[in-house]
């Protein structure tokens, strides 16, 4: 008779937690990694559209026009940004990404008619040249920041924080601080580089007002100024940004990605994108600037359905980052070389991971050549190949968006509205402030 062993895994100390504690005890270091939150969170998947039927009149899915044109920065800028799609590319630095990737982003964005964004470390000539519409970030570190590039920008994004690490600043580990990256950032090559969590020349919202005016004065009030924040106290933060004079507010939910930060930030700071968006809209409505100050939402946007739901909840546009990298091959088992697919599985294994699980952007040893500065790796993603992939992906997002909008009877994607949505879970209904499907119940209202 075999001995029966009763195995009961602890909910509080499950294998995942045990591994975390034992790794911490072994090494005395906290985890630093790339990408975004991996924990299960309420998402746009928890919402569905009430597309047209007898009570609503749909537009024909392929032939009837559905406008996706998007204009950002109409509040004060003399030259607002005009885009063909509300899907924009989020700020990601040269340093985090290779120069090839930055060029690919610019090319794809230009082909599809949208904007791309610089990142910590400044503007590379490749991305300026390849990007018709380029948003220049003004970050706390001010690495590579200068008035010449500022005047070349089509918009300025003043970054207060990002969803993956609100309040946490940033880092670029020494493996990725090549001579060129270091030169652009005025730092020694190879050091673990810290990006400050606060701006060096202003502190509170009153200062921010003056700072925004300084940027406007330097650029002669020509280009829009965005203010980007990680999603925490969204309602209050959006109001302060509006009061400070932002043309566009960008809210990055906790599913937003990063090239490197402490895992405790990624998984435990900020609120989900789904919860953040309605709070931002509420703030704009309460200040009577909804539609005057545009809203961009980011953090875990993956599909045209996500984009459509974000617009229905009140966003003017979305920004995508991690999904862009995935379109370029992030977490793919292969990379492209001279038209052939080359297996990269061994390189994932050397990092202690596998395709589909990798978040090792911080190491600079990206097996598919995206988040790297290593010459032997960055050739794995050429600008031509990457631009084609990304253009296809952006095209699909826009097609899915317009298809859903037409099915909701909208001839313009910006006509999507909250009334078009219901929630599948109580949590999503409460966060998104739309009814639970099959009911007229919105928890909390």
């Amino acid at each position: 008779m075999s001995e029966q062993i009763h195995r009961e895994e602890s909910f509080t100390f499950d294998r995942h937690v045990l591994d975390y504690i034992q790794q911490a005890a072994e090494h005395g270091l906290y985890d630093i990694r790339g990408l975004g939150a991996k924990r299960k969170l309420p998402t746009f998947d928890d919402l569905v559209f009430l597309t047209a039927s007898a009570s609503r009149y749909p537009l024909e899915g392929y032939r009837e026009k559905c406008v996706s044109k998007t204009v950002l920065g109409t509040r004060f800028a003399k030259k607002p940004i005009e885009l063909e799609t509300p899907v924009t590319i989020a700020g990601m630095s040269f340093g985090a990404l290779s120069a090839n990737v930055k060029e690919a982003l610019g090319r794809a964005a230009t082909e599809i008619g949208t904007s791309t964004t610089t990142g910590d470390g400044g503007m590379t000539p490749e991305e300026r040249q390849s990007s018709k519409t380029l948003v220049y970030q003004c970050l706390p570190s001010r690495y590579g920041f200068n008035p010449d590039d500022l005047r070349k920008a089509n918009a300025i994004e003043l970054v207060i924080g990002q969803g993956a690490k609100p309040g946490g600043g940033g880092m670029l580990l020494g493996q990725k601080v090549s001579e060129r990256v270091a030169g652009m950032r005025t730092l020694p090559a190879g050091i673990d580089q810290r990006s400050a969590c606060r701006h060096p020349d202003w502190t509170g919202p009153d200062d921010l007002t003056i700072k925004i005016n300084e940027l406007r004065e330097i650029t002669d009030w020509q280009v829009p100024i965005y203010v980007k924040m990680g999603a925490t106290r969204v309602r209050e933060d959006v109001k302060l940004a509006v009061k400070a004079g932002a043309d566009v507010v960008v809210i990055d939910g906790m599913q937003g990605g990063t090239a490197a930060t402490q895992q405790c930030f990624i998984e435990h700071a900020g609120i989900p994108t789904l919860a953040a968006l309605p709070l931002a809209v509420q703030a704009l409505e309460e200040m009577d600037v909804f539609g005057t100050v545009q809203l961009i939402i980011s953090g875990g946007i993956r599909s045209g359905a996500d984009v459509a739901k974000a617009l229905a909840l009140g966003a003017d546009a979305v920004a995508i980052g991690q999904a862009v990298l995935m379109a370029l091959g992030c977490n793919s088992s292969t990379y492209s070389h001279d038209g052939e697919r080359i297996d990269a599985t061994d390189d994932y294994h050397k990092l202690g991971t596998a395709p589909g699980y990798c978040h090792h952007c911080h190491t600079g040893r990206c097996p598919v050549g995206i988040t790297t500065q290593a010459p032997e790796l960055e050739t794995r993603m050429t600008p031509e190949w990457g631009a084609k992939r990304l253009k296809n992906y952006l095209q699909v997002l826009t097609m899915e968006l317009t298809t859903l909008a037409r099915a909701c009877g909208k001839s313009n994607v910006h006509h999507l509205e909250r009334e078009d949505l219901v929630a599948l879970t109580i949590e999503a209904a409460a966060m998104a402030k739309v009814p639970l499907a099959g009911t007229n119940w919105i928890p909390g209202l």
Binding site: H27, R151, T186, P200, D201, N213, E217, I218, T219
Partner: protein, 230 residues
């Protein structure tokens, strides 16, 4: 003799002033612009990119001469936060005191404060030079990456915290050093460097009496024993 262009801020807006300085400055002749009645206004003479002489006749507010290139700007009074922030080249001189963050993130050029500067003077400095004739407040040269901060008077607490490759010289007392900053011996090259900057700033002072502060470089790589207190 320079041609003098008076611009009176009781008659012009800040926008009109900066527009003139960006687009309507006469070229060719030596030009000096006098900005009258600044009355603490912010963002005066920002984003200049011309070899002009600008005199601001009175006290001014935040971000004066921000991102300056090539111009020589003199403020005949005190200034608020972040004078000459992100300066690229040229000279900015404040005849009085400066509030916080003077010369923040400057990449080049020279900033001279003829009296005291408040906290975080030279924060995030990336290559410019700053000379403060008086004293500076706490956390000055925080995370300064390159360039030089010369303080003829005293320095407040946590001087040079998380310093990278910038160098600090202090003529008076140092209240305390920040994380990873250390006092180092003055070499002949340091004395020459301080003398050069004092001369550029128009100050007579014995360069040999200064102390040198630079980075220990012990925070350049993350490690478990650093205590995370920086």
């Amino acid at each position: 003799m320079d041609r003098v262009i008076p611009l009176d801020l009781t008659r012009l807006t800040v926008r009109e002033l900066n527009h003139f300085l960006h687009h309507q400055l006469p070229t060719g002749d030596a030009v000096r612009v006098e900005i009258l009645n600044p009355n603490g206004m912010h963002n005066l003479a920002v984003g200049l990119d011309a070899p002009a002489e600008i005199d601001i006749l009175g006290h001014a507010g935040y971000f004066i001469a921000g991102m300056n290139k090539r111009a020589n700007v003199t403020v005949h009074g005190n200034v608020g936060w972040s004078v000459a922030e992100n300066i690229m080249s040229g000279t900015v001189r404040v005849k009085g005191c400066a509030s916080e963050c003077a010369g923040a993130s400057g990449h080049g050029g020279l900033l001279v404060i003829e009296e005291d500067a408040s906290s975080r003077c030279g924060i995030s400095l990336k290559g410019g030079d700053i000379v403060v004739v008086g004293s500076v407040g706490h956390m000055s040269a925080f995370m300064a990456q390159a360039g030089t901060l010369v303080v003829c008077g005293d320095a407040g607490g946590s001087l040079g915290d998380s310093l990278y490759e910038a160098t600090i010289y202090v003529g008076g007392a140092i209240h305390s050093l920040g994380a990873d900053a250390q006092e180092e011996p003055m070499t002949a090259a340091d004395v020459a460097r301080v003398s050069e900057l004092l001369t550029k700033a128009g100050i007579t002072r014995d360069a040999k009496s200064f102390k040198r502060v630079a980075s220990k470089r012990s925070l350049y790589h993350w490690h478990a024993d650093a205590g995370q207190e920086y």
